[in-house]
C-alpha cells in the first residue's frame, strides 16, 4: 500500500502523522495534566497548611472539631471550631429546607406545566439569578432583609434567619435549573405512555416524572448544599458574626467562611490562630469533595436508569 | 396461534388438502379401473360425476398457494413446498379428468356389444393406478427415492400401451364388427398412458420439493 505523495516519511517518523496527530495530542495532554496537577497541588498545599495546626501547633483534632471554646488570642488559646461548623451546618440546612420545595415546584412548572412560559420567561430569569454576584445578594440582605427582620422580630436583624434566606435565594436557581434539566431529560415517552393509560397530568408528574427525575433533583440539591456551605461574603454580611450557638432563628451567629474571611487578614502567617483558619479551609475542601462524591453517585444512578 | 405457527399451519393445511385431493383422485382412478374390469356403467357414471369436486379442489388449492406466497412470502424449502403444490395439483386434476373420460368411455362401451378385454389392458390400468398411488405416497412421505422409482415405471406403461395398441389394431382387422368398441378401448388405454405420465410429473415435483432440483425423470 503506497502512501500518497503528501505523506513524507522520514526515517521512521511519519511527518503527516506527527503534524496531524502527535503534536496536538501532546499539547492537550500537557494542559490536561497541568490542570489535574494544579488541583492536586492545591489539595496538597491546603493539607500542609491545614494539618500544621495539629502537627506543629499540637491542637487536638478532637478539640478542633468538637469544642465550642474559641479564644485564639487568649494566653492559653483555645481553638474549638464547633460553633463555626454548627453555624455552617445550620445555615445551609435551613437554606436548603426553604428553597428545595420552591425549586422543585418551579422546575415542575418550567418543564411540565408550561414549557412555553418556562422557556421564554422562567429559564432566563433563573439564569440571571445564577449570575448575580454573591456580594449583591449580601448587599440586598443587608439593606432590605436585615432591617425587615429587625422591625418584624426585634433583635439586631443580623441573624441565622437572614443568612439562611439570603443563601436560600442564592441556591434556589442552582437547584431549580438542575431539577428542571432532570425533568426535561426524561423522554417524552413517559408522558405519552402515562396519558395513554388514562392518567391526569398531575398523576403523571407525581407518579412517573418526579420519581424518575429524583436522582437529577438530588444532584441539584447536593450541589446547592455545596454552594451554601462554601459561600462566604453574602453570609458574612448578614449573619451578625457573633461567636455563639444560636438559640433561635433571629439570633446572630457565625460560620466557617465568615470567620476565615474576617480573621485571615488580621493574623500573621505561622501563628496557631492563622493555622487554625487554614484547617477550616481544609475542612471546607474536604466537605466539598464529599458533596461532589455524593452528587456523582446520585447522578450515576440517573445515568444508569437511562 | 403465533404468526410463525399460522404459517406452519398454512403449510400443513396445504399439504393436507393435497393429500385429500390425492385420495379423491386415487379413488377416481381405482373406480375407473374397477368399472373397466367389471364393465359397470353405474360405477363409471359415479366416477365421472366425482370429477367436479376435484376440479373445485384444484382451484381452491391454487388460490390457497398464491395466498400463502402473497401473505407469508416463503423462501427455500417452504417456497418449494408451495410451488410444488401449485404445480402438482394440475397434474392431479388432469389424472382425475382422465379417469372421468375413461368412465364416460366405459359407459359407451357398456352400451355396445360386449368385447373381450385383452388382459394387458387391465395390467396397464392397474400399473397406472399404482403409479398414481406411488407418487401420492411419495408426496405424503416426502420420499424422493420412492418418487424416482414411480417415475421409472412409466416406461413399462408406454411399452404396454404400444403392445395393446398393436393388439387392438389386429383385433379390429379380424373383428370388423367391433371396431367402434375397440377404438373406444384404445382411447381408454391412451388415457391410462396419460395418467401414468401425469403420475410421473407428480413424482418429479416431489423430487423437486425434497431436493430443490427439478429434472425430467424419464
Amino acid at each position: 500500500m503506497a502512501n500518497p505523495p503528501s505523506r513524507k516519511v522520514l526515517g521512521r517518523i511519519n511527518l503527516y502523522y506527527w503534524k496531524h496527530e502527535n503534536l496536538g495530542r501532546g499539547l492537550v495532554t500537557g494542559f490536561g495534566i497541568f490542570l489535574a496537577g494544579l488541583t492536586l497541588l492545591m489539595a496538597g498545599f491546603l493539607a500542609v497548611k491545614g494539618l500544621s495546626t495539629f502537627l506543629v501547633d499540637h491542637v487536638s483534632p478532637l478539640e478542633f472539631l468538637f469544642s465550642t471554646k474559641w479564644s485564639p488570642d487568649a494566653d492559653v488559646p483555645a481553638f474549638g471550631a464547633l460553633i463555626f461548623i454548627v453555624g455552617s451546618i445550620l445555615i445551609s440546612t435551613l437554606a436548603l429546607l426553604i428553597s428545595t420545595p420552591f425549586s422543585i415546584s418551579t422546575a415542575m412548572f418550567v418543564a411540565e406545566i408550561s414549557p412555553n412560559l418556562g422557556r421564554k420567561v422562567l429559564q432566563p430569569a433563573i439564569e440571571i439569578f445564577v449570575g448575580i454576584p454573591s456580594v449583591v445578594y449580601g448587599w440586598i440582605g443587608l439593606s432590605v432583609l436585615v432591617p425587615f427582620i429587625r422591625r418584624s422580630f426585634g433583635g439586631l436583624g443580623f441573624s441565622l434567619l437572614a443568612g439562611s434566606l439570603v443563601l436560600a435565594l442564592m441556591i434556589f436557581p442552582t437547584i431549580t435549573s438542575l431539577a428542571a434539566d432532570a425533568f426535561r431529560a426524561l423522554p417524552t415517552d413517559f408522558r405519552e405512555a402515562s396519558y395513554a393509560l388514562g392518567a391526569t397530568r398531575w398523576q403523571t408528574v407525581r407518579k412517573v416524572l418526579l420519581p424518575a427525575a429524583m436522582p437529577g433533583i438530588l444532584t441539584g440539591v447536593v450541589l446547592g448544599l455545596a454552594r451554601a456551605f462554601g459561600e462566604a461574603l453574602a453570609v458574612q454580611m448578614v449573619i451578625g458574626n457573633m461567636i455563639r450557638i444560636p438559640g433561635k432563628l433571629t439570633d446572630a451567629t457565625v460560620n466557617l467562611t465568615s470567620i476565615i474571611t474576617m480573621d485571615m487578614g488580621n493574623t500573621a502567617t505561622g501563628t496557631p490562630w492563622n493555622d487554625v483558619l487554614w484547617s477550616m479551609a481544609l475542612l471546607l475542601l474536604m466537605i466539598s469533595f464529599l458533596f461532589i462524591l455524593l452528587a456523582r453517585t446520585t447522578g450515576q444512578k440517573r445515568r444508569s436508569l437511562k | 396461534m403465533t404468526t410463525r405457527q399460522v404459517f406452519e399451519q398454512d403449510l400443513i393445511d396445504l399439504h393436507t388438502e393435497i393429500i385429500r385431493m390425492g385420495a379423491l383422485v386415487e379413488t377416481a382412478i381405482a373406480n375407473a379401473v374397477t368399472a373397466l374390469e367389471t364393465m359397470d356403467p353405474e360405477l363409471a357414471a359415479a366416477t365421472s360425476r366425482a370429477d367436479d369436486a376435484i376440479d373445485d379442489m384444484e382451484k381452491s388449492i391454487e388460490h390457497f398457494s398464491l395466498e400463502i406466497i402473497a401473505l407469508q412470502q416463503p423462501v427455500a424449502r417452504d417456497l418449494r413446498a408451495v410451488a410444488s403444490a401449485l404445480k402438482l395439483v394440475t397434474d392431479l386434476e388432469r389424472i382425475a379428468d382422465h379417469a372421468s373420460d375413461i368412465s364416460e368411455k366405459i359407459i359407451v362401451l357398456c352400451s355396445m356389444k360386449r368385447i373381450v378385454l385383452p388382459h394387458q389392458v387391465v395390467t396397464m390400468a392397474n400399473l397406472a393406478k399404482q403409479m398414481v398411488r406411488g407418487s401420492l405416497d411419495s408426496y405424503v412421505s416426502r420420499d424422493a427415492v420412492r418418487a424416482a422409482e414411480v417415475a421409472r415405471s412409466d416406461d413399462r406403461v408406454d411399452e404396454l400401451y404400444e403392445r395393446i395398441k398393436n393388439e387392438l389394431v389386429h383385433l379390429m382387422s379380424v373383428d370388423p364388427e367391433n371396431i367402434a368398441a375397440h377404438v373406444e378401448l384404445l382411447l381408454i388405454c391412451k388415457y391410462f398412458e396419460r395418467i401414468a405420465d401425469h403420475a410421473t410429473n407428480v413424482a418429479e415435483w416431489v423430487v423437486f420439493l425434497v431436493n430443490g432440483d427439478h429434472r425430467n425423470l424419464n
Binding site: V28, G32, F34, T106, I132, V135, L284 | -
Partner: protein, 300 residues
C-alpha cells in the same frame, strides 16, 4: 361512561399551585432588579461610572473598580480559555478511561465547586506571599483562573462529549486522524457549548469577590488613565499593581463604612453589576444561538 372526579380536581389544584409559585418567582426577580435599578438610578451616570472613589467624603465614583473588573476578566480569560479548552479536549478524547482519569476528573470537579474563599486563600499564599508580588491584579487574575479553569474545562469536555459518537466515527472512517477529527469536526460542533461556558465563567469572574479579597487586594493605586505603559506603576494596564474590583468594593464599603454615602454607592455599584450580568447573559444567548444556527439546523 362512568365519571371520575377526584384525579381531575387534584390536577387542577396542583396546576394552580404551581402557577402561583412560578409567578411569585418571576415577581421576585422583577422586584430584585427593579429595586436595584430604582435605588441605584441616581448613580447610573457618567460621573459615577468614570470617576475615582472618594476616600471619606460623599460623591465618589467607581471608575477604577469598574475598569479593574473588566481587565481582570480579560486577563484571566486569556489564560483560562486556551488551557481550559485544551484540558477539556484531553479529558474528552485522549484520557484513557480508568481509575486514574476518574480520580483526576473528580479532583477537577472538586476544584470547580471549591468555596471561593479557599481558592482566595490559596492564591494569597502562592501569588501574594510565595511570589512576593504582594496584592496584584495578576495574582487576582490567576486566582480567578484557578476558579474558572475547571468550569471551562468541564463545559468544554461536556460539549465535546455531547457530540454524537457517530459523527466521530464518521470522520475516523474517512481516514482522518484523531486530531483532525477533533479540530475539524468535534470542536466546531461543540463550539456553542464551549462559548456558553466561557461566558458564564466570565460572568462569575466579574462578580467574584471572596477570591480577590486576599489576592488582588482591597485598594487601588491612583491610576493615570492617560498612561498606557504597562510597566508603569500608575498605568491602568499594569497587571502587577493592587486592584480593587467592583464586587470587592461593594463588600468593603459595607464592612468598613467610612464613606458617608456608602449605601448609595453600594446601590449604584450593585445596579451596575446586575446590568453587567444581564449583558453577559444576553451575550451568551445570542452567541450560542448564532453559532448554533451556523453549525446546527435541527439535529435529527
Amino acid at each position: 361512561m362512568r365519571r371520575r372526579i377526584r384525579p381531575q380536581i387534584t390536577d387542577r389544584i396542583a396546576t394552580a399551585t404551581l402557577y402561583l409559585v412560578a409567578g411569585a418567582f418571576v415577581l421576585l426577580l422583577v422586584a430584585f432588579v427593579g429595586y436595584f435599578l430604582y435605588s441605584g438610578r441616581s448613580e447610573l451616570n457618567f460621573k459615577f461610572l468614570f470617576t475615582e472613589p472618594a476616600f471619606s467624603t460623599a460623591g465618589g465614583g467607581i471608575g477604577p473598580e469598574l475598569f479593574n473588573s473588566i481587565y481582570l476578566v480579560f486577563l484571566s480569560g486569556l489564560i483560562s480559555v486556551p488551557i481550559g479548552i485544551a484540558a477539556g479536549i484531553y479529558f474528552a478524547e485522549y484520557a484513557k478511561p480508568g481509575r486514574l482519569t476518574d480520580f483526576l476528573r473528580l479532583s477537577i470537579e472538586t476544584l470547580s465547586s471549591l468555596p471561593s474563599i479557599v481558592v482566595g486563600l490559596f492564591g494569597f499564599l502562592v501569588f501574594v506571599i510565595l511570589t512576593g508580588w504582594k496584592f496584584t491584579l495578576m495574582g487576582g487574575a490567576l486566582a480567578v483562573t484557578i476558579l474558572n479553569l475547571p468550569v471551562i474545562a468541564r463545559t468544554s469536555e461536556d460539549a465535546i462529549r455531547s457530540v454524537p459518537e457517530s459523527i466521530k466515527e464518521g470522520s475516523l472512517a474517512l481516514g482522518a486522524t484523531r486530531w483532525q477529527t477533533i479540530v475539524r469536526v468535534l470542536l466546531p460542533s461543540a463550539l456553542p457549548g464551549i462559548v456558553t461556558g466561557i461566558i458564564i465563567a466570565s460572568g462569575r469572574a466579574f462578580g467574584e469577590a471572596a477570591t480577590l479579597l486576599y489576592t488582588a487586594g482591597m485598594s487601588s493605586p491612583r491610576l493615570d488613565f492617560t498612561n498606557w505603559n504597562p510597566i508603569s506603576a500608575t498605568s491602568p494596564l499594569n497587571p502587577f499593581r493592587p486592584a480593587e474590583t467592583l464586587a470587592v468594593y461593594i463588600w468593603k464599603i459595607n464592612s468598613e463604612g467610612l464613606v458617608p454615602d456608602a449605601r448609595q454607592i453600594a446601590d449604584g455599584a450593585s445596579a451596575v453589576l446586575i446590568l453587567a450580568v444581564l449583558a453577559f447573559n444576553l451575550l451568551a444567548r445570542f452567541l450560542s444561538r448564532l453559532l448554533g444556527r451556523r453549525f446546527g439546523g435541527s439535529r435529527s
